[in-house]
């Protein structure tokens, strides 16, 4: 019987004027644009120099700054006030003032990361210039980067993007679909037929799971074609994680649709939770930097386990052993949600 319901869902997705476009365009856009956007690398910092000393030494320093990859030399300013004006109008990001052999770096720190990284880069250049001995010490310090040898932020973000895509396709779309049937009243017709809860729900979800896995495959291929980035660990594990995440988000979507009356409501509630789950998952910022109350939430956040695990597999080349803990946690949370989802769907009240 589920065969016929599945057929119906696929036909309806195909007939919908909007859905196929979304399923097709969205992943491509996400994979081709997002990695470029989600670039936290700090470059092109515009520097204003206020050089009152005007010595050859200070001019050499300015020259060094111009040559650095991180900085763009914005110009010499006569006074600090003048330079500050540049910062206020967003024409410069950082000021270097040289006065009586003293160096002052003032950085616009509205964006904290940018401000601190920029000022520390600049102070390194200045220190190296003034005190070559420090450089000698620093040169004896070596750093070995395990994994992601190219230090590319894209490698770090691409697996996370796959998670976001699975969440959109397997969470939002089925939830909206079910609330849509509710709003139109078509669900009543299904409820008077002998269709069991399970087959109805599965028939709603399976198409999106399949679409999700298809999209995942497209993403893996795109990341190889466009960025030359490939998965370091076993691909099968990526699929396993994706399936578990899909199970969670579709159950979650289903629960929300069971409790919502209108599409708008479902969309907003879903959006709210998704934003929270995502922000607290360590997708953008490291979870360990969080205060302890926020860190506690990561224990029940499936997105956190997923992001952790998929990065381990994709970037670090982990095996099942290295992500076993996350997989078990995902299995538990997803099962719990699935049971709740099926329980909350009522054919007879």
């Amino acid at each position: 019987m589920i065969k016929y319901l599945l057929q119906k869902e696929f036909l309806q997705i195909r007939r919908n004027s909007f859905m196929p476009k979304i399923i097709f365009i969205f992943p491509i856009m996400v994979m081709c644009v997002m990695p470029w956007v989600m670039n936290q690398e700090v470059t092109n910092i515009r520097v204003d120099v206020v050089d009152t000393d005007r010595t050859t030494e200070s001019q050499q320093l300015v020259h060094q700054i111009e040559q650095s990859n991180y900085f763009i030399f914005n110009g010499q300013k006569a006074t600090y006030q003048e330079a500050l004006k540049d910062i206020e109008t967003s024409q410069a990001d950082i000021i270097l003032e040289i006065r009586d052999g003293q160096y002052l770096i003032a950085a616009n720190a509205v964006n904290g990361t940018k401000g601190s990284i920029g000022s520390s880069y600049l102070s390194q250049i200045v220190t190296a210039h003034v005190q070559p001995s420090v450089v000698a010490i620093q040169s004896k310090v070596s750093t070995l980067f395990l994994y992601n040898k190219g230090q590319s932020y894209k490698v770090f973000m691409i697996p996370a993007l796959m998670g976001i895509l699975m969440m959109m396709l397997c969470g939002f779309l089925p939830a909206l679909n079910i609330v849509g049937e509710k709003e139109k009243g078509t669900i009543e017709q299904i409820n008077v037929t002998p269709v069991s809860k399970w087959s109805f729900i599965l028939a709603k979800l399976i198409p999106y799971w399949l679409i999700g896995l298809l999209v995942l495959t497209v993403c893996l291929i795109l990341s190889w074609l466009v960025y030359g980035i490939t998965c370091q660990g076993p691909l099968l594990l990526i699929y396993l994680l994706a399936i578990l995440l899909a199970l969670f988000f579709s159950s979650f979507g289903l629960i929300i649709s069971n409790y919502s009356d209108t599409m708008q409501q479902a969309m907003l509630v879903m959006w709210f939770f998704v934003v929270c789950l995502m922000l607290l998952s360590g997708l953008f910022t490291p979870t360990r930097s969080m205060p302890s109350w926020a860190y506690l939430t990561t224990y029940v956040n499936p997105m956190h386990y997923f992001i952790d695990a998929i990065r381990t597999v994709f970037v670090r080349g982990g095996t099942f052993q290295s992500i076993a803990h996350q997989v078990y946690a995902l299995v538990c949370i997803s099962t719990l949600m699935a049971v709740w989802a099926v329980k909350s769907y009522k054919k007879n009240n």
């Binding site: 019987m1 065969k3 016929y4 319901l5 057929q7 119906k8 036909l11 309806q12 007939r15 919908n16 139109k184 009243g185 078509t186 009543e188 017709q189 299904i190 409820n191 008077v192 037929t193 002998p194 269709v195 069991s196 054919k347 007879n348 009240n349």
Partner: protein
């Protein structure tokens, strides 16, 4: 008599579909004018053009002396319009809806109260309830009240009484007559013949063309094969066995203090066509929901096809068919795909489905539309198809909730032929309707008033015992005894 509405040579196309072809008519001031015709004849397009919502492709039209193309805002100040699927704000209460529409038209509920009293008084006691919680017919009554609360000089009503019970329909038309006395011009469309007769003149539209304009009697007579098809011959005793398919005893459904269904008992025999009548809000839909396993009864017992409605509702669902007016088929699937879906749900095999689909479509003479989207079919066809799909798996009972709402007489007759055909094959038919001519077609009927069954028997028995000439009068007689109206 000066003319309130003049339409001359109006044509309108939607892509390749020709909705209106060279339509011309005029309506005098203070006249009650009917626009009638089968579904898809172009009535709604005509209304929309007159209301300045659509632009005609060819031709001109004027309302109250203003041109519909150039003087849009003048017309909008003067007309009232109730579209076919008038919908209320579901999350506002009855009173809030009414007040909003009153102010929208620059009046107040108090000022317009007289013109809506007859209908609004029926729902006034639920004025704090949200419109979304009302039953279908009650919503329609509220929509009528909202449309009538102001007194425009021209009133356009597009099938205003679909899904409304006969008594309320009469009251509604009485109100329209009152408006007429105030020189308000009314243009209405309706599938009910008794309502057609209350118009002064009617225009019969078919496939976008005016076939004739005259008094109702002349038109109904001239096109009687469309409007008044010969009755159906039916051997009433045939196929009815002794065995009971539905047995209900002391069934109650309460929502808080309110008893929507208040202690009803009845039984339906195998192969019988059982008409389940009642005014809007009498509790029909609630009762039907309990029988089909969508709802649990508060108390009482019931068996459908031998299964208990309280515990074995999933078994019941395997043995019944169900069709509602609101929704029956998926509009974004084709005819064949819908059949396949529902047949598959009931566990039929592929080859059997394919064979029976062809048989069915041949019987309905519908083969060429096999791969058309259901959404593109006219309403009458949809309903016939929906019924055929609901009995496709040969269920013991089929439940029909106002299956013919808004359908024209000729199509309704074809629909009932299908019902008789099903009954002759031993399928019990449990049907609700607001058409009293259809009530006469039933083997046995029950009439619900205020959640209770106030009369039950064959149509002849009821007419005889209550001493009324026809079912219309029987219904009116019983329904007028109601003290409440809601479900």
């Amino acid at each position: 008599m000066n003319e309130a509405i003049i339409a001359s040579h109006v044509s309108k196309n939607y892509g390749r579909v020709r909705a209106l072809r060279d339509v011309s008519f005029s309506v005098g001031k203070g006249e009650v004018f009917g626009l009638i015709g089968p579904d898809g004849a172009g009535k709604t397009s005509m209304f929309r053009i007159l209301c300045t919502l659509l632009l005609p492709d060819v031709g001109t039209a004027s309302v109250d002396g203003y041109d519909v193309v150039r003087q849009m805002s003048d017309i909008r100040r003067r007309v009232g319009y109730m579209p076919g699927k008038f919908s209320l704000y579901q999350d506002l209460t009855v009173q809030e809806n009414l007040e909003f529409f009153a102010t929208l038209f620059g009046t107040t509920v108090e000022e317009g109260y007289d013109s809506i009293k007859a209908i609004y008084s029926q729902i006034e006691r639920f004025k704090d309830r949200k419109a979304g919680a009302l039953s279908g017919g009650m919503k329609q009554k509220l929509a009528l009240s909202c449309a009538l609360v102001h007194q425009p000089s021209v009133l356009f009503l597009d099938e205003p009484t679909t899904g409304v019970d006969p008594v309320s329909r009469k009251e509604f038309w009485d109100m329209l007559s009152m408006l007429k006395e105030r020189q308000i011009t009314i243009v209405a469309s309706t599938p009910y013949l008794d309502e057609v007769r209350r118009c002064e003149r009617v225009a019969f539209l078919s496939e976008g063309q005016v076939m004739g304009i005259d008094t109702p009697d002349v038109i109904l007579d001239r096109f009687k094969d469309v409007f008044n098809p010969p009755g159906i011959e039916h051997e009433k005793t045939m196929g009815v066995a002794e065995e009971n398919v539905i047995e209900v005893e002391h069934l109650v459904k309460a929502f808080g203090d309110f008893h929507a269904v208040d202690d009803i008992s009845f039984s339906v025999r195998k192969g019988e066509i059982f008409g389940f009548l009642g005014a809007n809000g009498a509790g029909k839909t609630t009762a039907m929901h309990m029988l089909t396993g969508l709802n649990q009864p508060t108390s009482g017992t019931g068996r459908v096809c031998g299964f208990d409605i309280r515990t074995q509702y999933e078994d019941i669902k395997r043995h019944i068919g169900y069709m509602s007016q609101k929704f029956s088929l998926y509009e974004d699937l084709t005819v064949a795909e819908n059949i396949r879906l529902f047949a598959g749900i009931y566990g039929m095999q592929d080859d059997e489905i394919a064979r029976k689909t062809d048989d069915l479509l041949r019987k309905l003479q519908f083969e060429e539309h096999k791969n058309d989207l259901v959404g593109s079919l006219p309403l009458g066809w949809k309903q016939k198809l929906a019924f055929s799909v609901s009995i496709f798996h040969e269920p013991g009972v089929v439940f029909l909730d106002e299956p013919t709402g808004g359908v024209d007489p000729a199509t309704r007759r074809q629909f009932w032929e299908l019902i008789y055909d099903a009954a002759s094959r031993g399928i019990t038919v449990f049907v609700t309707t607001h058409y009293m001519d259809e009530a006469e077609y039933c083997d046995r009927i029950s009439i619900m008033v205020d959640g209770k069954i106030s009369a039950m028997g064959t149509p002849e028995e009821l007419k005889r015992t209550l001493n009324q000439p026809d079912m219309d009068h029987v219904f009116t007689y019983l329904a007028r005894q109601a003290t409440r109206s809601s479900d």
